[in-house]
Symmetry: C2
Subunit: 91 residues, 2 copies
């Protein structure tokens, strides 16, 4: 019997890493009149579903996915939320 | 006197819109052995600071920023959280 989880993953640039896209967006917003906007940083937001025997295993799998593919640990941080959504009978 | 807010903005593709990047990531994860991963969707996660007289005004400004620049309302949804971080005296 497998449990099904929804994961919401947030991948952000480490604070020490420059974010040219963020700087461009900030400059665009200022030109549009939003003068008080500062410190714009752009990251990734990933949603996915996965099945696993239990939450601990699901968390371990997700951590490996982030380390290996979803984030670049040299320049990015990641965090995620995991919510159980359903139990698959007979899976 | 201005209040300073941190905004966390989540921009996601509307469910009816195809996500080729998400499909590619899902395929990559399956090749790496994560067979149970499904429904991968990739969006943007934006952090920024802004100053405003009150929270209602800040929310209105953010909504306009999302509609005009941060999201493409035709194919994307957005939502945001706003947290007050400090009060600027004399600003």
């Amino acid at each position: 019997m497998n449990r099904k989880y929804q994961a919401k993953i947030y991948v952000t640039l480490r604070p020490s890493v420059l974010d040219p896209a963020g700087t461009a967006v900030q400059s665009g917003l200022k030109h549009m009149g939003y003068e008080t906007v500062e410190q714009v940083r752009i990251g990734k937001y990933i949603e996915l579903m996965l099945s696993s025997t239990d939450e601990t295993t699901a968390r371990q799998q997700l951590e490996r996915m982030c380390e290996q593919l979803l984030a670049n640990p040299v320049i990015e941080n990641y965090r995620f939320n995991l919510v159980e959504v359903a139990i698959e009978i007979g899976a």
